[in-house]
Symmetry: C2
Subunit: 352 residues, 2 copies
């Protein structure tokens, strides 16, 4: 599998990844090598990592609690303290072995420990492989507000091992599929067409293609001033829905992919209303997502609360809410302002 | 007063600073302008800032508690939350009006809020003017360990108004003088000779020269891989002393300049033992600092505890303690390993 060259680093797959890791550690002369895991990756991924991937001795394994609810500054403080207590210095390496929550948090902790140490990401969920492998975003949540605190910083390398996907529950696997479908929707109709029919989205080829699409977008706009915004398709409403469900004890917590699957149907509707996305394509989007993602029930009160949360989304500047919308499948435009009354109509279409 | 061109920004003085601020804000189209103060700068500097410096309206003033003991993640969280609650977005500006604790912390908060917003530093103490104006260091402490958490990031500009120095207590003013003397010791004998005799270290010319010396060093080594380390002269032992006194309720808390003044005498002694600094120069260094900075009493237990803290200093890699030492006044060398038995002798010389 061909490696993907991103900003200052490469994404390697399988055997090549193993070799790249070995070679890098041998030449870097790190003072300490630390591995960050959560209770799940400690159980399901660390044994394989130690046995099959990592040839170099590990100084310490740090464990944090899994889940978006632990992606906060208090967990960062624990990891900073562990790094400090185990004599981490500026020449230490942190290997983040886990899903998106862990790689986002571990990347932020490494980027800010002693003003920045090296880190390597080994994403273990489909979502983190296709979404967090490129882009350089690190960070944590502030209360219910997602990714409010963070920096843009690049890992030394990203290593992808599809073996880890076998350890996931089906719901977790499908969550990542939503981001892959998004990559098709925003910039590659052919990929969308292949992917929406397939049950083989965990195949290395499909995964590599998805990362390559995202990487192409990121490389053209590393600081998110323009083009890169299209990666937020489905995320403006999706994030608000995700935050709302996380914060509300009566709602079932949605996985990120599940929330943005809803977000893409809603923003697909806005695209149809405002940007000429055909009714046929809109229905195709809705049918595809509802085939893989169970419909979520939203009451009128839920919808009102979600729309209130919108204004906190970090992409909004000057109080306006900006959307990425589709002109057609494979073609996205960003910075579109949406009249408020359309939000209710979008939810009505979702509930139809 | 001539502006100093640093990494990606300039340091402006007095009237020029006022004009630069006005012009920058006019052309930048910020959504919000926030000012960060502590209880001291709110009382002594904010009125002057509003009346004489800042022409643009301020959206909100955020207040934090002053002092090294508040330079931590918990204070950062309060400021992140204020930024969030007052609708700060990616196009917001944070102006840090205060001493080094405030500009370090405010710079870190801005650099990590929504993955980085613009910030302007207006240092109000002599120490922060001569030390924190250039270098791009931001950060906070982790427990007693100074600056363990942070990033390297540049402000939009730094503005220096010597009017603020009049609001300082003499002890605070003298604290900054230690860093100015250090700039002479590490790279400019002539400046050292002028400065050590003078009582006019708060003159704009002396201040501008001190920033210019530091800037020259920083520009040659922005990521602290080599030359820049010389700026740490006096800081390896100085930081350990500062941490120890902060953490120990029985010791008087030392200002940063007071701690590194001791550190420079101690490391001057090490320089004499290991790098050929003459006894005459060593005594000149000791006499100069003791003239301005009251001698600190250290018991044998104090010394032992301080030496234990040394190993946590963030500049140490691979467990060794590296020092910057002087070959002569105006000429520093870095990465010098010091045999442990010399530390006790250095304290003995200080106590003589």
């Amino acid at each position: 599998m061909e490696s993907i060259i991103s900003q200052s680093y490469e994404v390697h797959f399988g055997e090549l990844a193993k070799a790249a890791l070995k070679q890098h550690i041998a030449k870097s002369g790190y003072s300490k090598v630390f591995v960050l895991v959560d209770e799940n990756t400690k159980k399901y991924c660390l044994p394989f990592f130690k046995k099959e991937i990592m040839a170099h001795p590990i100084d310490s394994v740090f464990e944090i609690a899994s889940g978006e609810e632990n992606k906060n500054i208090s967990t960062c403080t624990k990891v900073w303290e562990m790094l400090s207590n185990f004599d981490g210095d500026r020449k230490s390496l942190l290997i983040n072995l886990g899903g998106g929550v862990l790689t986002d948090l571990g990347g932020f902790v490494a980027s800010t420990f002693k003003r920045g140490i090296d880190f390597i990401n080994i994403p273990t969920t489909l979502l983190s492989i296709v979404d967090a492998s490129v882009g350089g975003k690190t960070g944590v949540d502030l209360g219910v507000l997602k990714n409010q605190i963070g920096v843009i910083n690049q890992p030394v390398m990203v290593l992808v091992f599809t073996e880890f996907l076998k350890t996931l529950e089906p719901r977790q696997r499908v969550s990542g599929y939503a981001e892959m479908l998004k990559h098709g929707l925003i910039s590659d109709m052919e990929y969308w067409n292949q992917l929406k029919e397939t049950s083989s989205f965990t195949e290395p080829d499909s995964i590599q293609k998805s990362i390559a699409i995202k990487n192409k977008v990121v490389l053209q706009d590393p600081t998110e001033k323009g083009l890169r915004k299209i990666l937020n398709f489905g995320h403006t409403l999706g994030h608000a829905i995700e935050s709302y469900c996380l914060e509300n004890p009566e709602k079932k917590t949605l996985l990120h992919g599940e929330a943005i699957a809803v977000g893409m149907i809603l923003e697909g509707y806005l695209s149809h209303e405002l940007k000429g996305l055909s009714k046929l394509s809109l229905d195709e989007i809705k049918t595809t997502f509802l085939q893989y993602f169970e419909a979520v029930h939203f009451s009128d009160d839920d919808v009102d609360a979600i729309l209130k949360l919108l204004k906190f989304d970090k992409k909004n500047t000057h109080g306006d809410v900006n959307f990425v919308l589709l002109q057609s499948i494979g073609e996205a435009v960003s910075d579109i302002k949406v009249p408020e009354e359309l939000f209710q109509k979008a939810f009505a279409y979702y509930r139809e």
